[in-house]
């Protein structure tokens, strides 16, 4: 085994990282093509409120003191996701307003909970920026369960998600009931964001969802290829980021995100060099 993996906490982090490196870009592809890249940011901040709430409740209740804060984080995140979909209906002509509303509500709640819980501690710091030494065995199993649910959902709903992302009208004409699929999709996104937090941190989780996609859509031919390339870039960034962060003693979240930025620039320059060919006119 690699020396890097001789400690159990590193094994946990590595397994979680690999799962998250697959999950975040898979959902990210749909989010980016639906022009909702900022949703990941809004949901990550509402997740923080859930985690802060758990830290606060842990002061008073032994149940929350022992519970993994990721669960309450997930509950907040899924609630926020459903709320975003509702707000998008209220503000039909300003759909993007839902995002700053949820985001600021998330930060507001977090700040209140954190101050009531007597401020920052290392735990919270780890959630904000990600820390591979903080990944527990129970996190690995939680993320594994999310992995199974999300992959089954995307596999069986691929057609529907694809049509709804491309044009909703066509979807409705083919008899696809768009509402519950979109709500389920948002709930999955919320779960993946909560799951990715330990590795990349709340402030950087949206990068793991959107940067691999931003890179892949520069060079992909077709939607399936965009998904595969996004996953490849996500995994490369997570794995190399975790190695670098361990050996160079850097923050894991930041290292992973910088690896993504490097990949993104490589893809943009590749496209520049090969040039974008327009096919001849009719």
């Amino acid at each position: 085994m690699l020396p890097f993996l001789k400690y159990e906490f590193l094994q946990n982090a590595f397994l979680t990282g690999i799962m998250v490196g697959l999950l975040a870009p898979v959902l990210g592809v749909f989010i980016v093509v639906r022009r909702q890249a900022l949703i990941a940011d809004a949901l990550s901040h509402i997740t923080l409120a859930g985690i802060a709430a758990n830290l606060l409740l842990g002061k008073w209740s032994s149940f929350f003191a022992t519970a993994n804060p990721i669960y309450l984080g997930m509950a907040f995140s899924v609630g926020g996701a459903i709320f975003i979909e509702q707000l998008r209906k209220v503000y039909k002509h300003y759909e993007e307003l839902a995002i700053p509303i949820i985001m600021s509500a998330g930060i507001g709640l977090s700040v209140i909970f954190i101050s009531m819980a007597d401020g920052f501690n290392t735990d919270l710091f780890n959630y904000l920026f990600g820390s591979i030494i903080a990944v527990k065995q129970s996190d690995v199993w939680t993320v594994f369960a999310i992995l199974i649910v999300v992959l089954l959902f995307v596999f069986f709903m691929y057609k529907e998600l694809f049509v709804l992302s491309f044009d909703e009208e066509q979807g409705r004409l083919s008899g696809i009931r768009s509402n519950w699929i979109l709500v389920a999709f948002m709930a999955m996104t919320a779960l993946v964001i909560a799951a990715s937090m330990k590795i990349v941190g709340i402030l950087l989780v949206s990068a793991l969802m959107t940067l691999p996609v931003a890179a892949s859509i520069r060079i992909a031919k077709g939607f399936k290829q965009a998904i595969w390339l996004s996953v490849l870039f996500g995994e490369v960034a997570v794995i190399s980021g975790m190695f670098l962060s361990y050996y160079l003693d850097l923050a894991s979240g930041g290292t992973i995100v910088l690896c993504l930025v490097v990949i993104l620039f490589l893809c943009i320059s590749y496209k520049k060099f090969t040039g974008s060919r327009k096919v001849g006119h009719l």
Partner: protein
């Protein structure tokens, strides 16, 4: 009127639609015969797109009914019989990473159903549809890399892939150069001729359209004229030069037959 329902593809019966207090459609009644190629013309804001959306069940009118192939619209569930090509400009994101093949295959998703995947036979259908619009050599190009006319052909292929009996096109040539749109109209005429398909073409381009369609309907909140192309041309002969060269609204004031 009831006895010839079998020969009617679309029946619109006393349909009215308003957004808030703005009337968009008023008491629209029309039958579109099976096998006809109808050009639906009208100025901007005349309610053409809204009428199409009501016919497709994408909008609910406040009053009146729509029947598709003799079936009331809320009971109709043969949607794969109907192909729809919407106004290109506001219907999709040209940077979307999907190949022409992937876009066309969407047309089969309704038939394939939930939790199922495209089979080899479905993929053959996608190829056939691409071939019927002469786009098979671009199958693996991203849709955004194609020209406007080529993209429109891909969308036609998507509408055709499920072998529809009725094809509805909403201003399909907006943003497409004249040469491409003419070859596009020729393609529609061929499709109509070869497959005995009912076609409805929404357009404000009266001049070109009358060379291809069998029937014409003029809409401006109400139906002002509905008849075959010859009737349309003779009834408006005194003004033919005026409206061939200009916009359709000239015509409405002169032909208030409704």
């Amino acid at each position: 009127m009831k006895n010839n329902l079998n020969s009617i593809a679309i029946r619109v019966d006393d349909l009215s639609f308003h957004y808030g207090d703005k009337n968009v459609l008023q008491h629209v009644t029309m039958d579109i015969k099976k096998g006809s190629f109808l050009g639906l013309v009208g100025p901007n804001g005349s309610g053409k797109s809204t009428l199409i959306k009501c016919i497709l069940g994408l909008q609910k009118p406040q009053q009146g009914n729509v029947y598709l192939f003799g079936e009331k619209i809320n009971k109709f569930n043969d949607w794969e019989k109907i192909g729809y090509v919407s106004q290109k400009a506001n219907s999709f994101n040209t940077a979307f990473p999907a190949t022409a093949f992937e876009v066309v295959s969407m047309g089969l998703f309704g038939r394939v159903g939930l939790f199922r995947f495209l089979k080899a036979a479905d993929k053959r259908k996608v190829w056939e549809a691409l071939k019927s619009v002469n786009m098979e050599q671009y199958a693996h190009q991203n849709i955004g890399e194609l020209s406007g006319g080529q993209q429109q052909r891909v969308f036609i292929a998507r509408a055709l892939v499920s072998d529809p009996m009725l094809l509805i096109l909403d201003e399909p040539t907006v943003g497409v150069d004249t040469e491409s749109s003419e070859s596009f109209y020729k393609l529609l005429k061929e499709l109509h001729y070869n497959n005995n398909m009912t076609l409805v073409l929404v357009t404000h381009d009266v001049g070109v359209m009358t060379d291809y369609v069998t029937d014409v309907a003029c809409l401006n909140k109400q139906i002002h004229f509905h008849g075959n192309t010859r009737e349309f041309e003779t009834s408006s002969s005194e003004n033919i030069s005026a409206f061939y060269g200009h916009h359709v609204h000239v015509l409405h004031h002169d032909h208030d037959h409704a």
